[in-house]
Amino acid sequence: MAVRVQREDFDPGLEIQALTAGDTSIGGVASFIGLVRDMAGGDSAGAMTLEHYPGMTEKMLGEIEAEARRRWPLQASLIVHRYGRLEPGDRIVLVVTASAHRAAALEACHFLIDWLKTKAPFWKLEETGGGDARWVDARSGDDAATERWSQPRRKDAAE
């Protein structure tokens, strides 16, 4: 049960190890790692700067995580989201969920990354070359992905 918003990179292996250490009731761990995709086609541009709303970001991530824990029987969960300037290939976000069984871990992980994209106050400023930059538009596909989870699943579906 943890949420972190940080400028620094993270090590997914160490994070998963730390999250699950000592809890032998965990039978499955799911993770999602988001990377900066090179949208500028190998150009020197393609870097981006992530801005966020300090205070509200942590609060929203905590609420999203709490919602996942209401829907699925999770032993442990973690969200790490970076901000600041990131280059193509850099890690942006980490979601880890751990449960007794795989279905709960996998579904909760998918839910968290979908919800996070439309409910956490982050904005991407993409460098377009020549010193220019543009704010990335929200994608309607992200809203659809969030909407897909609007019906709460039954907790026992994962047992």
Binding site: G34, H52, V93, L116, K119, P121, W123, D137, A138
Partner: protein
């Protein structure tokens, strides 16, 4: 009342955060935005299209008809693009 701007709203207004004292006739977010537009050309440009703006009141998502009061923290920003 504290008003925060993020992403292109911050760039166009030229401020990330400002403390304002709107008149008592400003009772909700839409009325606040209308009043904020009069603060300068940057504000007028940033705030011209209310439908492009998302709102949080005291760090909770809100609609433009949400009430605002002295002491509130109002944040104005475009749709979010995290993850």
């Amino acid at each position: 009342m504290k008003v925060l701007y993020f992403a292109w709203l911050r760039q166009r207004t030229g401020v990330g955060e400002e403390t304002v004292s709107p008149p008592p006739s400003v009772r909700n977010v839409a009325e606040l935005v209308e009043w904020l537009r009069t603060r300068g050309p940057g504000h007028a440009e940033a705030l011209q299209d209310l439908s492009a703006i998302r709102v949080a009141v005291n760090q909770e998502f809100a609609t433009v008809d949400a009430a605002v009061a002295p002491g509130d923290e109002i944040a104005l920003f475009p749709p979010m693009t995290g993850g």
